[in-house]
Symmetry: C2
Subunit: 405 residues, 2 copies
């Protein structure tokens, strides 16, 4: 089955928004073994749209279109598709009711509101829980067409609940898939390791999705055994580089490990300045194990709150193994936690020296009167150094927690 994607709307071409819809659609379709083979973006222009539809129709069995379903006059997706495929339009009363449900029962609908209820005769309405524009699907010229709204909050649920099911039911073979999440391995390195151990072929698809510090790896196949074999194999090769079952990012696993060990956590941040805390607090339920954090950005605060010795700062500087160690230890005392993590470094653009260039970062974890400190040298701009420092810090914390049984 050949699938193509048509994204409609000048906000994509003008760069006011990045096309995350294609990535979301691609990730889900890849798990079924049918990633899109081609994608186009066009303006809300009748001629441009029709030419794109013709191009995609010739080359694919399914066209998934996004955008141009809004209430205003420049939203012309439905009209253009109907015109192209020679379909009549009608006003669907159930959609009118849905618009009332979303906008309020008493609201008197304008001609613009009602426009969203005009759909092709014979099409299937896909209910949009998060907006007034319905999703629409129909078959024409032997092709399966989906018209979906552009905002990701509306598109993604509609796509997952309706489009995927519909495509899956039409695949000759059922497709099985399973994902796992790795940490501490660069995507290119992960690809190398996976390709050395598992051969991608027409019966087994491999997908990667990288995030700072981690990667989602998905195997999919019409043969369930191939997926489970690949998962088993790669688990044996990667071992602890794979997150625990049910955890989709390292912060989630850290919260889980802390809860299992009945331990509490606190953080002392300098260059990362709240970024590590933010990752931890992002996890629902983190309040059960995370007590709090200090961003000790000035030396004065490092001394006053975290009890870093003045002599340490004078002798070694704030960016040093000694300071990182005292920050972590002072933090565990301040918050009275079982374990504490600290990060101090030079994020730039200024402040680097020949012995301590921009990107020098020290990370410490203290637990049970033992403190482990590591030095990192990170290339890139201020933002990248902070993001990578946060990833390295969480990774070090995870490794320490895994060693505590």
């Amino acid at each position: 089955m050949k699938i193509s994607v048509l994204n409609i709307g000048n906000e994509l071409l003008k760069g006011s928004t990045a096309n995350t819809n294609l990535a979301s659609i691609g990730q889900e379709l890849l798990k079924l073994g049918v990633p899109p083979i081609i994608q186009m973006t066009v303006n809300d222009d009748p001629n441009d749209m029709k030419e794109a539809i013709a191009y995609l129709e010739k080359r694919s069995d399914v066209i998934i279109s996004t955008g141009g379903l809004g209430p205003t006059t420049d939203d012309i997706t439905v009209e253009i598709f109907a015109d192209y495929f020679g379909l009549k339009l009608y006003t669907d009363e159930k959609v009118i009711e849905h618009i009332h449900n979303i906008m309020g029962k008493d609201k008197i609908l304008s001609v613009h509101n009602k426009k969203q209820a005009i759909v092709p005769v014979g099409s299937t309405i896909l209910e949009n829980r998060n907006g007034t524009a319905p999703g629409i699907s129909f078959e024409a010229n032997g092709k399966l067409i989906f018209l979906l709204p552009g905002p990701p909050s509306e598109l993604i649920p509609l796509f997952k609940e309706n489009v995927l099911t519909s495509i899956r039911s039409r695949l000759k073979e059922k497709v099985y898939f399973e994902s796992l999440y790795t940490v501490g391995i660069a995507e290119s390195e992960l690809q190398r390791i996976v390709s050395e151990n598992i051969k991608e072929n027409q019966k087994l698809y491999i997908a990667y999705r990288a995030e700072p510090g981690g990667c989602e790896l998905t195997f999919s196949s019409p043969m369930e055994i191939l997926v489970s074999e690949a998962i088993t194999k790669i688990r044996s090769v990667l071992g602890l580089s794979i997150l625990d079952y049910g955890c989709k990012n390292i912060a989630e696993e850290i919260i889980k490990l802390l809860a299992e060990r009945k331990m509490t956590l606190s953080l002392a941040e300098s260059c990362t300045g709240g970024m590590i805390a933010s990752k931890i607090v992002d996890v629902p339920g983190s309040s059960k194990v995370f007590k709090g954090s200090v961003t000790a950005y000035l030396n004065e605060i490092k001394m006053h709150l975290l009890k870093v010795k003045e002599n340490t700062l004078l002798k070694y500087g704030a960016v040093s193994e000694e300071c990182a160690k005292e920050m972590a230890e002072g933090c565990a005392n301040l918050f009275n936690t079982d374990i504490a993590l600290s990060a101090t470094g030079i994020a730039g653009p200024d402040g680097g020296t020949s012995s301590k260039p921009v990107g020098t970062v020290f990370i410490s974890v203290t637990f049970h009167n033992r403190t482990l400190t590591k030095k990192f040298l990170i290339k890139g701009d201020r933002s990248r150094i902070r993001i990578r420092s946060t990833a390295f810090a969480l990774n070090l914390l995870r490794n320490v927690l895994l060693e505590i049984s």
Copy 2:
């Protein structure tokens, strides 16, 4: 001038990476008044690529292609474009030298490395400071073609330094542009205000780029006077909703306002958990005015570090006007700063009640023994509530600072 973009690489179609290159290219071209009119994504497949080139060539004067310039055998962009336009290839010695400069003088280049130095006869080499693949431009069939590497860190500098200059020099008219940054106004509201005051037309282009809590607004025109008139007009309408000159985000302006007023800042975060601190620390030079922050996630820490009264927590709860106020005041004392900002709220998914639903957030700013507290009700999931809380908190802080002369 009609410009199209061709993105090559299955990682975009498989969804392992979102197409941020199109957004970056679109934003820059829009400022020149020539946003892309069409964009396509294809796999590294000779037939798919040639069909896409033919489609775009027919409809545009300039094709900007990204991706497929790597050293491996599936990177075939140069060969396919050369073949399509009937251009011969040769190995460019200057590119070989460049590859040596990037990889190390002593490195013996493999056949894969050397492949990146094979370029079309008569093409212009665009030096890639951040990678081995050179950018390439040439003219053929009356069209201007750019072949650029896919990684954003390589593409964006090449695009800004070479492609934009080249396109600008070919525009019949010089295009002037100026941007300003707004805060505290939703993008749709901003669009409404702008459209009521300024008419977009063929001589004046208006571009928007939204971020959480703010928006970049750009006017561009071949007539400089139209840009300056639009800027003046919109400044008079929006007033303080526009950031100070030279500031590209609200945190930058806050640091500037604090420095001008010779004031120091500290933060006390609960639900935002480090996110506000991280925005502040993102700004280079923030250490001059930002002393530090506490994430007081547990009540115990709110009492112990920020001296929130136990009675306040028992009587009003941690998510209350009273607690937010005491957090801010305790924070100013703890860090000994002129001004302190606090945020406490229910980010969910659990913890909401009928009187305090998920999304209830209190934000306080304290300055000179005066404390201002505001209540917000934010819809959405945990992540959105935290991001919006951070934007509201920075906005409140900015407004207080603007009132302090």
